[in-house]
Structures are given as structure tokens and as C-alpha cells.
């Protein structure tokens, strides 16, 4: 019993060490969203100006009204954001092959740059809202693009991913969640 007492500081040290070690595994940039399970913010964003002129179908911007009905993914992107380009094929596959409606919020982008980017990389978005001053994105709690939000049929935010979507995140988190939310 007494020997155990002497071991106590050592055991405490091991415990604290393990806790700190696990802390290293966490990404400090990954801040939990305050909006999970809350209704998506009310907003009404115009389309990227000039989308028609480039021969791309004008989808009339994005508003919160469009988000209710089906499970959708809202992706915040910008042409100046390098990881957005990295995740673009993953988003494209999600929208074209995996049957998830993806909406885009074009964050603080120049319209001409956004349009060039979309015509070069393809446009997987069912509609895009241009958030030129970033105010609507602040309502969404955006702090670094790209960010993706999963919205359920009632228009509530159910999941948030900060940083580029990877095939692994899609397979392991997004698709199962979409399936679950469609049933619910």
C-alpha cells in the first residue's frame, strides 16, 4: 500500500504525459464550430457577376431558402485559395458521382478570377453565392477557406470540416452522415 503511494507521482506524470502527447495529435487550427445543430444563417447572396456572359448557366446566387429540402453540402471557396484547388476534384466527384448537391460560397474573390477558375477547373456547384465582403461567411463562422458544411433537410448545420476535403473525409464522415440524415 505504501509502495503504491510512492508510485503515485510517477503514475500522475505518465497520465499527464499521455494527455499532452494526445494533445499533439490535435490540429490547433481545428476550432469546434459554434453552429453545429443550429439552423444555417439567413442570407441571400447574388450570383458571381458575369457568370452568364461566360456561357455558364446562371444559377441565380445562393440564399438560405435553397438549403432546405435535401441534404446539401455548402462549400466556401475562393480562386486565390490553393487548398481549394486541391479539394476541387473531391467536390466534383461528390456532386457528379456521389449524388450530393453542393452549393458554393465564393469568399472574397474577384468575380473575373472566380469565373476563370471555374471555367478552368469545372463547376460542380448547383448554385454559387458571391460573398465579396465576407460578411455572410462571418455569419457562418468561416475563419479559413476552404470550409465545408453539411446541411440537413430542415436547413440545420450538422457537420463542419475546415480545410480541404479529402477522399478519406468524404468516405468516412460525409457520405455516412448524408445517408443518415436522408433517413432521418
Amino acid at each position: 500500500m505504501r509502495r503504491l503511494l510512492y508510485l503515485l507521482p510517477f503514475l500522475l506524470f505518465i497520465g499527464v504525459g499521455v494527455a499532452f502527447y494526445l494533445g499533439f495529435e490535435r490540429d490547433p487550427r481545428d476550432i469546434p464550430s459554434a453552429l453545429i445543430d443550429k439552423p444555417a444563417p439567413t442570407f441571400d447572396l447574388p450570383a458571381v457577376p458575369g457568370q452568364m456572359a461566360q456561357g455558364q448557366p446562371a444559377t441565380g446566387g445562393l440564399s438560405s431558402a435553397k438549403l432546405a429540402g435535401d441534404v446539401t453540402l455548402v462549400n466556401v471557396f475562393a480562386s486565390w485559395c490553393i487548398p481549394c484547388k486541391a479539394e476541387h476534384p473531391v467536390i466534383t466527384r461528390l456532386s457528379r458521382e456521389q449524388g450530393v448537391t453542393v452549393y458554393g460560397i465564393n469568399y472574397k474573390d474577384k468575380p473575373e478570377d472566380a469565373l476563370t477558375w471555374l471555367s478552368r477547373n469545372g463547376n460542380p456547384y448547383a448554385a454559387i453565392g458571391a460573398d465579396q465582403d465576407g460578411r455572410v461567411s462571418i455569419d457562418w463562422g468561416v475563419y479559413g477557406v476552404p470550409e465545408s458544411y453539411l446541411i440537413d433537410r430542415k436547413g440545420r448545420i450538422r457537420f463542419k470540416h475546415v480545410g480541404p476535403l479529402t477522399p478519406q473525409v468524404v468516405e468516412e464522415q460525409i457520405l455516412p452522415m448524408v445517408k443518415h440524415l436522408r433517413q432521418g
Binding site: P28, P32, S33, K108
Partner: protein, 158 residues
């Protein structure tokens, strides 16, 4: 001469020691009272891009957007608490550089005092135990044989 030169150099370098302001002139509100409230609020809000800077110190574009937002809310007539609430509703308690005292932050606030108390209790118990040993509280008195040997040893020293 040398001293004069040093003094001049020191005087010249003083302005450089004042940190550059992140708040741009075009952000500043015309009403000084409102502006000083905006500054005070901005100093309490974490910039989510640089994380260890307040939005008042940070040059990140998001920090600027949040500074403008804080000023817009104040202009719209919000109280300081209302502005804070507006920002925490969107970004969570994480944006507050001073975490609030509530159930989820209890370990953070109480933890250090609990550890201090635990250490103090341990020290107290340890010292009390040792004082007991020193006072001979838990040692048996000398037997007659031991006493005789001790006397003999002490006498030899004289």
C-alpha cells in the same frame, strides 16, 4: 560629444519602438467614445487566423473584417455585451481571449488551484510525519542495555 550622439540616436529610435497599429485609419470611427469601446472589444477577441493575437493587433484580413463588424454593430447601437455575443454566436467561446467561467471551463479555472491545494496537503502530511519521527513519537524508548552502552560511549569522549 559621444554622449550627445547617443542621446540623439536614442531619441530617433523611440518612435520605432512603438508597435505599428493594425487598425487602419479608414477603420477608425469618427466618434472617439465609440472608437475606444471598439478598441476595448477588439482587444478581447481572438483573431482566428493567427490565434494568439487579438483582432486589434492582427493584420490578417479576417481580423480587419471582424474589426469593421464590431464597429458596425456599435454604430447600430449594440451594447458591448451584445457585440461580444454576436461574435461568440458565430465563432464560439474560442474567440474570447479570456475564457468565460462555466461548466466546460471548470478544469481550466479550478485546475491550478486544485493542484496547488493537493501539493500543499501532500507537503503538510509529509512534514507532519517527519516531525513525528524527529520527536521520537513512534520509536520505542531505549532498553536498559542500550542505555548502558550509550552512557559508556558518551563517557569515552570526555
Amino acid at each position: 560629444m559621444k554622449r550627445l550622439l547617443l542621446a540623439v540616436l536614442l531619441a530617433l529610435s523611440a518612435p520605432a519602438a512603438i508597435p505599428a497599429l493594425a487598425v487602419q485609419p479608414d477603420e477608425v470611427l469618427p466618434d472617439p467614445a465609440l472608437e475606444s469601446r471598439a478598441r476595448a472589444i477588439s482587444q478581447e477577441l481572438r483573431c482566428l487566423v493567427c490565434q494568439n493575437q487579438s483582432i486589434d493587433d492582427s493584420n490578417a484580413p479576417l481580423a480587419r473584417d471582424l474589426r469593421l463588424l464590431v464597429r458596425d454593430r456599435l454604430k447600430a447601437g449594440d451594447s458591448d455585451d451584445k457585440v461580444m455575443e454576436f461574435v461568440t454566436d458565430r465563432y464560439g467561446d474560442y474567440v474570447l481571449l479570456r475564457p468565460p467561467f462555466k461548466a466546460t471551463t471548470l478544469v481550466l479555472w479550478i485546475g491550478p488551484f486544485a493542484v496547488l491545494l493537493l501539493g500543499a496537503a501532500g507537503t503538510f502530511l509529509f512534514l507532519r510525519g517527519r516531525r513525528g519521527v524527529a520527536a521520537g513519537a513512534d520509536t520505542a524508548p531505549l532498553s536498559a542495555d542500550e542505555r548502558r552502552r550509550l552512557d559508556a560511549l558518551l563517557r569515552k569522549d570526555d
